[in-house]
């Protein structure tokens, strides 16, 4: 059985706690990665988000371990023994320590502000090779392309930077395809926009992420990301179909 030192300032305490913090950080880091499987991974803008999210998880794992291991260790080692009526050690603080645990977090804040700024740029920028307008209204979506094609589903070619312009007809909505990462509100009286470069072919759900009344929960639309040839074919078919309708009217 390990004999723990009794004096509160014994260096052995800090060696033991340090080792435990390291072990717990690693275990907790992998645990958090497992229980917080971030869904954003199907667009170029999702990648920096996922990267920063997982970087955060490691920092969280370390800080959680630091506080909780210290706390649990103290609770165990410094618990009052039976028939011990003495008071605790008398020390009122330590200015050097206080300065350290003010300055180190401050440095971390600067570092994360910098990382956050870079990641934000990556997650919100992109080209506009494809343009599509999404309109939100209680409680559905409508899409239109610059060539006049309108659609109830949104179709985008894979790996092409798309600029999605957003308009709300009635109340505030929010455009969110979880797999793509970022979301953006649609605000009456404004036009907002979102850059998305989809990197995975497939069918996704666009969902409204801002409570917008009775049927907010079901305000969704299908979003399809297809190979470029398929996109062109779809667009041609739509053009033909909608021109035909216009002509025969």
């Amino acid at each position: 059985m390990l004999k723990l030192p009794q004096s509160y300032s014994d260096r052995k305490h800090f060696l033991i706690v340090g080792a435990l913090v390291a072990i717990v950080t690693v275990a907790l880091g992998f645990f958090l990665l497992a229980i917080l499987p971030i869904k954003a991974q199907a667009s170029m803008q999702a990648e920096p988000i996922k990267w920063l999210f997982q970087l955060h998880l490691w920092l969280i794992a370390f800080l959680f371990a630091l506080v909780v291991v210290f706390m649990l260790y103290a609770l165990f080692v410094f618990r009052r023994r039976k028939n011990d009526d003495s008071e605790g050690e008398h020390f009122e603080g330590n200015t050097a320590l206080e300065v350290i645990w003010t300055v180190v977090p401050l440095v971390l804040v600067v570092i994360f502000s910098f990382i956050g700024l870079r990641t934000l740029q990556d997650a919100t920028s992109g080209g506009d090779e494809v343009q599509v307008k999404a309109e939100g209204f209680q409680w559905s979506w409508a899409f239109s392309y610059p060539n006049g094609v309108t659609s109830a589903e949104m179709v985008l070619p894979v790996n092409k930077p798309a600029l999605i312009t957003l308009q709300a007809r009635d109340v505030i909505h929010s455009f969110w395809v979880a797999e793509w990462g970022p979301k953006q509100d649609l605000v009456p009286g404004m036009t907002t926009s979102l850059h998305i470069t989809p990197t995975k072919v497939g069918e996704f759900q666009l969902k409204c992420a801002e409570l917008c009344g009775l049927s907010h929960w079901s305000m969704a639309a299908t979003v399809r990301v297809v190979p470029e040839e398929e996109y062109t074919a779809w667009m041609d078919a739509k053009l033909a179909e909608q021109n035909l309708q216009t002509a025969s009217r």
Binding site: H56, F78, W101, T102, T119, D185, G189, L211
Partner: protein, 620 residues
């Protein structure tokens, strides 16, 4: 004793009489002006304003002031009302801060149960996919009510802690303005009645009430606006009273840096309440005007050329969050103060870095004024604002970190004991840590663009508020219970409460965050089975019920122990704080003689030191 002699009953009669009179006046005015008799917005708003005044007149919260205007002097009455049982003073206007503190605390606890029950209703619905018993409209109302009732409960709980403890801790006879104190409590009651009435009409925007949505729905919105405006008025008046009390009424020798640490937390909280609450009052007032009078503050209106000559929806969000973010610090700072107050007692050690802990509360309060825009990363405001608010928000981590590390320093080298209040203090640290550490991930804007309005945020703020307020509130209740009632709570039941609630809460938080990363949005009446979050949702619901059950155990404990608990004596925790040096329960006049402060508050373990000197009978 007649039931009509209870202030509360007279107040409620006044409320409904006022409601009818107010509605009638609006109808008559409308008819006189040649309008149609019935316009539900105008008639209800007029009726409810009159109802709130009717309540205050009925309960007697303004009686003394009205007498003063007629030149009648009204000396402060001490003790229970003449000729009535002692318990009746809790149901009417009483100027003793200990009575008002209990009124605040019990009302807060009652609302916590009501608000929590609303959550259980929709958690039951969310336990599985598919809409089973709660239709989306009702779901939205329950969800929105859960938020405001819970927030009101926290504001009242904070009021309970502050009003009961601050005068006791600084050895004052009472608050600086006892009548204002009673008024500030009683104005909450008609507001709560109004808030609960709104449920009958429904409203569906969530507590944030963003326009234009909140300009559309049913008349329930008007009741919410009025109720929150009124509760806000209570916050402003109550905090003013607390600030004056702490600055002006401290005893000889109690410099600011010798106040019990909880007072620092309350001071920081009061500064926020006094200065930020106006903004939500203003925001809701503007919504109310826009609804009932058609003034276009927030909703865009277009002229023939398509130019917006109306309002701007995002303006509301700035006004709303300028209060509602600092409000989170209003909720958690007193709780963190309770943690700092209790740890030294149960560690038998000085609070580590008293000045740093005290100033970190002020720092959190001040930085808190500059971070509101992090709720709006996706709102469509100018993109560069995201950077400003990201940096200011990350800065909150610095003073918060100081608190955590100082708590560890306080525990280190102590002689720790673990009665229920200490367990809840430690539980609070663990839960607030989950809430705190999940903050920066929402502060860096890129990750927030994904996480915003998902269950990750739900997990984050429930952990923040439970760790920062609910756990410390329960710690405070158990800790000061013997001082309030003179008897000990039941330790076994207390520990059972803790060991059900704490793991239950950890599970709930993590499951909510998992659901969020898997793509579960907030505030939805039903969710897509394709998300694969059913198991996680079921876990959240089960954990929610476990937490609720554990709170019922506490309430049972508090009720029964008041009768059968072991007599506690003056100072069962061997605390150095002034309130523990006087009898339990605290007598009508707390301190028979003025106290003076002759040392540091937390010098546990320093032989021969003392904090409070009670003047002896012959000392004057």
């Amino acid at each position: 004793m007649r039931i009509g002699s209870l202030g509360l009953v007279r107040g409620l009669v006044g409320y409904f009489a006022g409601l009818i009179v107010g509605m009638a006046v609006v109808v008559i005015l409308r008819l006189a002006l040649g309008m149609s008799a019935w316009d539900q917005e105008a008639v209800w708003v007029g009726g409810l304003i009159s109802a709130i005044i009717g309540f205050l007149l009925g309960v007697g919260a303004m009686s003394d002031w009205l007498k003063w205007t007629r030149g009648i002097e009204t000396p402060l009455h001490h003790g229970p009302p003449a000729g009535k049982p002692a318990w009746t003073r809790y149901f009417g206007v009483d100027y003793n801060h200990k009575v008002i503190g209990i009124q605040y605390g019990v009302t807060g606890l009652f609302l916590l149960v009501v608000g929590g029950s609303f959550a259980l209703v929709f958690r039951t619905e969310l336990a599985d996919t598919g809409i089973s018993f709660l239709q989306p409209g009702t779901y939205n109302t329950f969800l929105s009510m859960h938020a405001w009732v819970a927030l009101a409960s926290i504001l009242l709980g904070v009021g309970g802690i502050a009003n009961y403890l601050v005068p006791l801790m600084i050895g004052a006879e009472d608050m600086a303005f006892p009548r204002l104190n009673a008024f500030a409590y009683w104005i909450n009651v008609p507001a709560i009645v109004t808030l609960l009435i709104s449920m009958l009409f429904g409203w569906d925007s969530g507590w944030t009430a963003y326009p234009p949505l909140s300009l559309l729905g049913p008349v329930g919105y008007q009741m919410v606006f009025l109720a929150i405006f009124t509760i806000g008025l209570s916050s402003i008046l109550g905090s003013l009273n607390l600030i004056v009390t702490m600055l002006m009424m401290r005893p000889k020798g109690m410099t600011l840096f010798r106040m019990p640490i909880l007072c620092w937390a309350i001071l920081a909280t009061s500064i926020i309440q006094l200065t930020a609450t106006q903004l939500i009052g203003q925001a809701f007032l503007m919504l109310s005007f826009e609804r009932s009078l058609g003034m276009p503050f927030f909703k865009p209106i277009y002229d023939a050329a398509g130019v917006n000559i109306g309002g701007q929806p995002i303006l509301f969000q700035h006004l709303f969050w300028f209060y509602s973010h600092p409000a989170v610090y209003v909720f958690v700072l007193p709780g963190l103060g309770v943690i700092s107050e209790l740890l030294p007692v149960f560690a038998r050690k000085p609070l580590f870095g008293y000045r740093w802990v005290a100033l970190s509360s002020l720092a959190i309060a001040l930085v808190g004024f500059l971070v509101w825009g992090h709720h709006m990363f996706t709102s469509g405001y100018q993109p560069y604002l995201r950077v400003v608010f990201m940096i200011s928000t990350l800065l909150v981590a610095v003073p918060t970190g100081v608190k955590f590390f100082s708590w560890l320093g306080t525990l280190w080298g102590g002689r720790l004991i673990f009665p229920t209040p200490m367990l809840f203090t430690l539980g609070a640290i663990s839960v607030f840590l989950i809430g705190g550490l999940s903050g920066p991930i929402l502060a860096t804007a890129a990750t927030d663009l994904f996480l915003h309005d998902t269950y990750f945020v739900v997990g984050h703020f429930h952990a923040t508020i439970f760790g920062g307020f609910v756990f410390p509130f329960f710690a405070a209740i158990y800790y000061w219970y013997p001082k309030i009632t003179g008897r000990m709570y039941n330790e076994t039941l207390g520990k059972l409460h803790f060991w059900l609630m704490t793991p239950g809460f950890w599970l709930m938080s993590l499951a909510q965050m998992t659901a969020g990363t898997m793509g579960m949005r907030r505030r939805i009446a039903d969710y897509d089975p394709a998300l694969g979050v059913q198991n996680v949702q079921l876990l959240v619901t089960i954990a929610g019920f476990v937490i609720a059950f554990s709170i019922l155990i506490m309430i049972y404990n508090l009720f029964t122990s008041a009768e059968i608990g072991v007599l506690a004596g003056n100072n069962p925790w061997r605390s150095r704080s002034p309130e523990w040096q006087i009898p339990s329960p605290v007598p009508e006049h707390s301190y028979a003689r003025p106290i003076s402060i002759v040392g540091e508050p937390y010098d546990y373990g320093l032989a021969g030191s003392s904090y409070v000197a009670m003047a002896g009978a012959g000392d004057d």
